[in-house]
Structures are given as C-alpha cells and as structure tokens.
C-alpha cells in the first residue's frame, strides 16, 4: 500500500464546558466535553472512508478538526506527508485548496446574499487561481458539470431561489472547483429528500473518479455508507470502536454497537428480521464519559472488565479492527 494521503493519529478535541460566573469564582475545575477522544485512521488516495455514528458521537467534530476548522487539542494530522496540525493560518492556505468540505445543511452553507455563481468562483479568486473573468467562466462550467443548467441563468441566482438538492450541488461545485484531493463530506445527503439523495451521491462518485478524490464521508446512515464507502469506521462517544472494509464490517460486525446499529436500520429488503442484539438507553453526555469501555452501560455483554478497562483496537480479521473485550467474531 502506498503512502496514505491523510493520516490521523490520536486526534483529540476537548471543548471546555462553559462555566457560569459562579463556578469560575468558586474555582471549580474546568470540565471538558471530550468530543473526539483519540482517533486514528488513514485514508488512501481515491479511497472513501465512511465515519458512522449517532448524533453526538463526535464524528462531525472529527471531520472539522481534520481540516483545522476547529483547532485540535492533541494529536497529529498528516496530509500528503506534511504535518498540518501546527501550521500557521498562512502556511495552511495552500492545503485549504487541496482539502475541502461539504456540509450537511445546504441551506446554511451558502451566504444568502451571494449569487451562487460568485460563491462558486470565489475560491478561485481566494487562491489567485484565476482572474475575475476566467473564474466566471470556470464557475459556469462547474455549474454545468453539477447539473445546474442553464448555467448562465443559475449563475445569477441567489440560494433562496434553489431547492435543497440544488443547493447541495452548488456546495459541491464550490468545493470541487479547486480540484481538491481530499474532501470531508459531512452528512452531505441527510437533509436532502430521499428522491434526490441518490443523485447527489452519484455526483460525488463522479468527482471521485475524475479527481481520484479521497473522501471522509461522515454519516449516521449505514445504508448510505455501504453504498459509497470502501471502508467503514464506527464512532461511539469520541472513539472509533470498529473500523474495516465495508463488506466485512457489515457482514461480520465485531462490536456489539455496530451490530445493534446495523440491526436498527429499517429495510425494505429484509422486512421482518429477528433482533439478536437489543441495546437500551441513549448515548451519554460526552462531558461524563463512562470509565472502562465507554459503551458498557448499554452493552448486553458488559462484564467487570468492561467497566474498568478500556479496550484497545485489535485486528479481528484482515484490516478489520475492533475495540471490544468481547468481540462478536
């Protein structure tokens, strides 16, 4: 395997809990929400890694921290051999061109007062890749490329004239105009109507082929992950609990949590299924992470060891790692 494009090592992001004036005065120790608590993975060129987890598991924070839209607390982010964790903002700018992000909410990720054509052209101007006219031309081409035609008509529209699916195309166009090598797609389709989702996924897939684009695809929907990812990583409370090739993980989930997730997903193809694993309760607050295995309070198999000792990622089959004392395989 060649050198990975992106390498993340032991990434952590702790947010201090905003203390009230009283707590500050009482000198209570600061508390942290451990949104990302030691995450490591690699993504090869052209590879899609799906990061899956329930809301609040830290997957979104992880995505943003990797792009340094949020400053990491600890850990290393190595992009194409360069550690970008500590780069100054100025030094980071060239990397911004090569790494992009697509957000979940297409309504909020475009400035309401900017024509969508200008929004797409702006990255070119920011990185001095083109003059105004040229940028416009390129933006027009990109509009056509993402299927917003007639493109010159779309160029002058404002976001509120567009539907959610169309906006997401604009967002993708804006990210892709820089021909990035890596993109974080943060729940890129979860706010899009079902009928439209597939086409957005197709669009991303086409760029992947064209640019040999690596993707970190963040989603709560395993079915979507299955559709596009080469590998799947499952996150729970700030940690990756299982990571491996898509087929392998879905067919043979090693972590009880992964298994439960898979079983909870509704399906047309397998309507009346037997439930093997039932987990109860909800994800605890990331400010109070349970000791030991952080999944133990909800785990049907938890024992004393799980309550005290934190499991490490171990390889259960080729390239398939799990952090569990009692893996299912």
């Amino acid at each position: 395997m060649s050198e990975p494009l992106l390498k993340v090592e032991n990434l952590k992001k702790y947010f201090p809990v905003r203390r009230s004036i009283l707590e500050t005065l009482r000198k209570e120790p600061p508390r942290y929400v451990k949104a990302v608590d030691g995450v490591s993975f690699e993504i090869a060129r052209g590879e899609v890694l799906a990061l899956i987890g329930e809301s609040g598991c830290g997957k979104t924070t992880a995505g943003r921290t990797i792009l340094r839209l949020i400053e990491p607390t600890e850990g290393k982010i190595i992009f194409d051999g360069t550690e970008i964790t500590k780069l100054s903002h100025e030094a980071l700018r060239p990397f911004r061109r090569r790494m992009q992000i697509i957000f979940q909410d297409p309504y909020a990720s475009l400035s309401p007062r900017m024509k969508i054509g200008d929004a797409i052209a702006h990255p070119l101007l920011v990185h001095s890749l083109a003059e105004k006219e040229e940028a416009r031309e390129m933006a027009l081409k990109m509009l056509k490329r993402v299927g917003l035609t007639p493109e010159d008509e779309f160029y002058d529209r404002y976001p509120h004239h567009l539907s959610g699916g169309q906006r997401q195309r604009v967002v993708i166009a804006r990210a892709m105009i820089l021909k990035p090598e890596f993109v974080v797609a943060d729940e890129a389709v979860s706010m899009i109507d079902v009928s439209m989702r597939a086409s957005i996924l197709e669009l991303l897939e086409s760029f992947r082929k064209e640019y040999n684009l690596s993707q970190l695809f963040i989603t709560h929907d395993i079915a979507v992950g299955k559709l596009i990812a080469d590998r799947i990583a499952v996150m729970y409370l700030g940690k990756i609990v299982e990571i491996g090739p898509t087929e392998e993980v879905l067919k043979h989930p090693a972590h009880p949590y992964t298994a439960a997730l898979i079983e909870a997903v509704p399906s047309i193809a397998r309507r009346k299924k037997e439930k093997k694993i039932r987990i109860t309760g909800e994800v605890p607050n990331a400010a109070n992470v349970p000791p030991g295995c952080r999944f133990h309070p909800r785990c049907p198999f938890a024992d004393e060891k799980c309550r005290s000792e934190e499991p490490k990622l171990i390889e259960v089959s080729h390239n398939h790692f799990v952090a569990c004392h009692h893996p299912l395989i």
């Binding site: 839209l69 700018r93 992000i101 309504y107 400035s111 007062r113 900017m114 967002v171 990210a175």
Partner: protein, 282 residues
C-alpha cells in the same frame, strides 16, 4: 436599468406591507422635496417678522403666522432642512462608527470586544434622551452639535446590532465554508458577513431615523437644537405651546404633525422593509 427595476420591484412590488411602504416613501419624498426646493416652495422668508401676527391659516398663510408674524408654512418648509440635516448627519456618524466597530469587535472577539461591549451596553441601557440632553447642552445649540449629541446615543444601537449579528453569522456554516476555501478574515468580514448584515442595517437605519427625528424634536423642544430665527419644527412647537391656550392651535398642530408624520413615514418603511427582509431569505 435592470438594477433600477429590481429596486423598484423590491420597494413597490406586490409584497406584504406595500401600502405602508408607499405611504412612508411618499411622505419622505414630499419632505425631501420641501427641503431641497425650500426657496421656491416657501412663499415667504421664514425668519422675516411682520405685523400680521397670529393670523389663522388662510389662502395667504397656509398654516397661519406666529407671534412675530412669520409665515408658519414657510417655517415648516424650511424646517424640514434642519430635521433632515440633523437626523441624517447623526445617523451617518453613528453608522460610520458603530458598524465597523461592531463588525470587528464581534468578529475577532477577545478582551477588546468585551471592554467595548461593556461601554456600549452601558450607554445603550442608559436613557438615550437624557444623555443626548446632557451632551447637547454642553456642546451648545447648533444643528451639527445636535447631530453629534444624537449620534452619540445611536452608536451603541448599531454596534450592538452589528456585533450580535456578526457573532451569529460567524458561527454559520457558510462562514465556516469560507474558512474552508481559505478566505482571509478581511474577505470573510466584508464579502460574507457584511452583505448579510445589510438588510438588517437597512431596517435599523430606518427605525433609528424615525427615532432620531423624535429625539431631535425632543431636544429642540427643550430648546437645545437651534438658535432662532432658524426654522425648526421642534423649536416652533416649543415656542408655540404657550399660545395653545389662546386658541392659536396652528402654531402647535402643524409642527407636531410634521414631526410625527416624518417619524411615522420612516417607521412604516422600516416595518415594511423588515417584512421583506425576513421574507427574502429562506
């Protein structure tokens, strides 16, 4: 042409509040015309006294004459200049200070922001008219000084509005997206945040103009705005007040109505704009 059409569409298009908008704009336009063409519109010299004192409204004196025999209509016409001058200078000054300060303060945050916010909040929370009175008295009566006194109390209005909006816009995804494409802070502030503030600024502008008109009138009512014989609505109202008891209602009625009509016109425009703005996005 196209832009003009769009502006016209924005202002007069069949949208909610069209009636309010039209009414407001008409009045503002009338007052503006009065101010610009005062020498041609006013039939008399507004400062010239005559022996024809306390004449009731008639064909000769549309709004009657005052105790010195000055033509009230001419004074109202010329008075529009002072009101507009004071109010617009005041609003411009406060915008010129409040908006950039709020933008930078909100965007960068930090200790300066906190200190500035405390100062602005303190002034903001204090009764504006009282502060304006103190400042106006100290600076002495002149339209420019009045404008300064008024602008002083509106700086925090703009500052707080812009700062608050900047703070919330700063957390929006599209700003994060701008970071992600590598835009610089200056670009983000002026290309992404400021344009999104514009509609709110416009609304606050019209509302603060409406408010400033009343503040100006309040200051001149207390005799702090202009020196006679300069025609000024608030001042004329003040000097006309004692004569209300003698039945010379026109001395009080017309200046008062003009003040409120103009303020109302701006408030109506602001209200209509507000509806358009909240309708325009999303």
């Amino acid at each position: 042409m196209e832009i003009a059409g769009k502006i016209a569409e924005f202002l007069f298009g069949k949208k909610p509040g069209r009636g309010m908008m039209l009414f407001g704009l008409t009045i503002v336009l009338i007052v503006l015309i009065m101010a610009i063409f005062a020498p041609w519109i006013a039939p008399y010299d507004p400062t010239q006294s005559s022996d024809d004192v306390f004449a009731p409204p008639s064909g000769e004196h549309l709004m009657g004459t005052n105790r010195l025999g000055q033509d009230m209509f001419s004074r109202i016409v010329w008075g529009s200049r002072i009101v507009l001058y004071v109010v617009f200078i005041a609003t411009l000054i406060s915008m010129a200070i409040g908006i950039p300060l709020g933008l930078v303060s909100g965007y960068y945050g930090g200790k300066t922001d906190r200190a500035l916010s405390v100062v602005m909040d303190s002034i903001y929370a204090f009764p504006a008219l009282i502060l304006a009175i103190v400042i106006a008295v100290v600076l002495g009566p002149s339209p420019l000084n009045t404008a300064i006194a008024i602008s002083f109390v509106y700086v925090p209005t703009y500052f707080r509005m812009v700062r608050g909006q900047t703070l919330s816009l700063k957390g929006q995804l599209f700003v994060e997206a701008a970071h992600a494409i590598g835009a610089k802070n200056r670009e983000i502030m002026f290309k992404y945040i400021l344009p999104n503030l514009a509609p709110t600024i416009l609304v606050v502008f019209t509302l603060s103009v409406a408010d400033a008109i009343l503040t100006e009138a309040g200051l001149s009512f207390l005799g702090l705005s202009v020196t006679p014989p300069t025609p000024d609505w608030g001042y004329d109202l003040r000097v006309g007040q004692p004569f209300l008891l003698d039945g010379y209602w026109w001395l009080v009625f017309f200046p008062g109505v003009m003040i409120m009509l103009l303020a109302m016109a701006f408030a109506l425009i602001g209200e209509a704009l507000n509806e358009r703005v909240s309708l325009g996005t999303r």
